[in-house]
Amino acid sequence: MSTIITSAPPASAGSKDPGHGGGVDYLNHETSIASWLLTLDHKRIGILYLVAMSAMFVLGGFYASLIRAELITPKGDLMSSDFYNKSFTAHGVIMVFFVLIPLVPASLGNFMLPLMIGAKDVAFPRLNLISWYVYMIGAGFTLVALIGGGVDSGWTFYTPLSTTYLNSNVLLTATGLFILGFSSILTGLNFIVTIHRMRCPGMDWFRMPLFVWALYATSVIQLLGTPVIAITLALVGVERLLGVGIFDPRLGGDPILYQHLFWFYSHPAVYIMILPPLGVTNELISTFSRKPIFGYSMMAGASLAIAIFSFIVWAHHMFTSGLSPYAAMFFSLLTFSVAIPSGIKVFTWLATLFRGSISFDSPMLYAYGFIGLFTIGGMTGLFLSTLGTDIHFHDTYFVVAHFHYVMVGGAIVGFMGGLHFIWPKMFGRMYPEFPARMSAILIFVGFNLTFFPQFLVGYLGMPRRYHEYPDEFQVLNVFSSAGATVLGVGYLLPLLYLPWSVFFGEKAGRNPWGATTLDWTHTESPPTPHNFEETPVVTGEPYKYDTLFNKESALAGH
């Protein structure tokens, strides 16, 4: 289907462009390794992040496969308890901090943001490069900690286990995460300034693509939340290293204080992971149904509302910790407030599809998968925000299933949709459509097979982070492990065909999807080093399809 669209009028603009086919673009104007490692180009930095995070994703996935292999049988027969605990800690630390949190903003965001708002680059290109190096240094520390024996604190580093009782590499890992946090802060800062100061003429706030709104909301959380986790990890270090009583009651500290500090960041962090994919999905739904997003300002507002509400719900992770019942009620009520804007988003997409012109290219299949999994993930959140049921579900596999639906089913699937969407822009080549659709379907099916049984086993009461479990939970765990195999194949396919397509894929025009935002209408595929030949001027809304097949107005920018 994509090939047919390439020949549609907006795409034909690409063929007469002198820069295309042998022209100078950001990939070929310099090709040395140094030109990549010292680049200040937001597009190249986005790709550097993409490569680094893909590697971390494969590593995190490897640990996930160890966990699922061990859980096929109730007895701990494949590995020791210590190694199992180190595996789920490594899986959690890598996936949460090194993949999910930076995933969409640092890769797709870096690449797309300046293109979408008509800017030549982000506001601080050097800071942008530094943030990648900071990420790599943080990753280096963590990898050394893993290779040098591992860490078995769980990704949550709960005290006093992490500060007093463990003799694994807690400090080294915490140092890695402390450093990594600055990468997140710098990216957030950079994006906020870019969105405020670098929009091209005519690009009002309410003419910005919704992905930009999502990045803005995310950046605010990154900037305000990340310092808290940095301080918290530093305090863990102080207690562990110097024996100053902060969290350990034997030293006069309070372990619950740690949970407050940790979740004050780590709950909003969930929205750092999910808001950008929510934003990406807006672009996909609009483009592949050729409809403006239904209720644009409501959608933009919902992103900001989620960002704000995310900071006032953290104690719902602590309902069983002896929290005052009144505080528990308060946080339960506030938690429901996040459900409202999340629901608005899903209904808005459905209304956008209504009477649309829907095509099923693989980015759209991913977007459908995203809506489905995000809906299940969000709806099952009701069990956990409701006090009466959360007590039973807390720290069981139900919670594991719920947050994988949101963070993997949502964030990763949304990312995959976004990645396939911008792939032709990124490399000027189409990925092969058939394996891409296969991958989207395999991921959706495999994901549900893996995680739906975990809702059931969680309801039965199986606690998370269990190396061994009672026999009656085995069948559901076997289903889950079998599903993980399908899911693994789904993830493996893009790792093969995407790199292949960079060299051998069919050439893409400047706008193969018939999208209407500046990144598609005003830049080449791949873009020139400075994105735009001349500064674009925006005169209307971002999603406007009625002029799509009128070449002149399409080229004039709406």
Binding site: P292, F336, F354
Partner: protein
């Protein structure tokens, strides 16, 4: 192979309440997920792209719809929230006649102490129809005490007490899990709770007969020389502990004391425990800061002994404080460190 449970046993009085709420939310989940998936499929069938240059009508929004899908979910959420609070109230407020059992978690076992002095490890016994209140703490790291068949759970937090209660409705043997990751052997920190008929239970108790917790606590009270100062007289160096449990105590706000003027504290188990471990934390009005009482850390009073001391203090009625023996030594001479400020 297909014979596996997908529904946990329901064996306590609160379990059906949790179950009803659970089913309500399941119905909501199915309804809304079916709506979303159904519309996705329906729109895909009706509105797939017919021609490459097809441009659909461009709607930009509808205030009425947008208000609708904001307001309706809000109402649904409020209903679920309110129902959740109602069930939660059942879960956290124990009946007054509940039997006290004390639980200490440690890496990697659960220790239980009964009022009659019986002790168990990784096991618990209870009677059908008789409410039990667990007071839970930990000697080392965080743990969490969970009985899925009863739908109850509470973290074991070092340095403080948490509580949970249940009233079994069915004879049987049910899982006890530790649900808070606590280190290497976390998944082996499991046990069983056996629910019995009253007669069987009494038989079991008598087989495990021991000196009661309060009696053991009285011995500790004497051994640790508490009575030297807590003499139960108005001119004593420390407040009388008679009938102190669940009384509201006005606090001293001497210079340097970390309490605000006019503050009071409820003398629950947590306060009694804190006052033994850290005597200066909250000092009763009329006594000086910092406390002259030594701090009793784990090396002097273990968590198990702490429960016995508290059981004794809770049992202490008017005029029952033992007579002071002037010839015994003071606590400091026993090796207790001086009170920490």
């Amino acid at each position: 192979m297909w014979d596996f449970p997908i529904w946990p046993e329901s064996a306590s009085t609160v379990a059906p309440s949790v179950e009803a709420l659970y089913l309500f939310i399941v119905a909501l989940n199915i309804g809304i997920t079916a709506l979303v998936f159904g519309l996705l499929v329906l729109f895909s069938v009706l509105y797939y792209r017919r021609a490459d240059d097809q441009v659909p009508p461009q709607y930009h929004g509808s205030m009425l719809l947008e208000i609708g899908w904001t307001a309706i979910p809000t109402v649904i959420c409020l209903i679920v929230f309110a129902w959740g609070v109602k069930v939660y109230a059942e879960l956290v407020v124990p009946p007054a006649d509940a039997m006290d059992v004390y639980i200490v978690g440690r890496q990697w076992m659960w220790k239980a102490q009964y009022p009659g002095g019986q002790r168990e490890i990784n096991a618990l016994h209870a009677v059908v129809g008789k409410p039990v209140k667990l007071t839970i703490t930990s000697e080392d790291v965080l743990h969490s005490f969970s009985i899925p068949a009863f739908r109850v759970k509470s973290d074991a937090v070092p340095g403080r007490y948490t509580t949970l209660w249940f009233q079994p409705t069915q004879v049987g043997v049910y899982h006890i899990f530790c649900t808070e990751y606590c280190g290497t052997e976390h998944s082996r920190m499991i046990g069983k709770i056996t629910v019995m008929e009253e007669a069987d239970y009494q038989k079991w108790l008598s087989e495990k007969a021991e000196l009661g917790d309060a009696v053991q606590g009285r011995k500790l009270f004497a051994k640790l020389q508490c009575v030297t100062c807590h003499a139960g007289e108005s001119q004593a160096r420390a407040p009388s502990l008679e009938e102190i449990h669940m009384k509201r105590i006005p606090l001293s706000f001497d210079k340097g004391s970390p309490v605000a003027p006019g503050a009071t504290v409820l003398a629950d188990e947590n306060y009694l425990r804190e006052s033994i471990r850290y005597p200066s934390a909250k000092i009763a009005a009329g006594y000086q800061y910092p406390s002259i009482m030594p701090a009793y850390d784990e090396s002097l009073v273990s968590e198990d002994e702490m429960f016995q001391l508290i059981a004794y203090i809770k049992s202490l009625k008017k005029g029952q404080t033992p007579a002071r023996n002037e010839h015994t030594t003071t606590p400091t001479a026993l090796g207790a460190p001086a009170g920490r400020p």
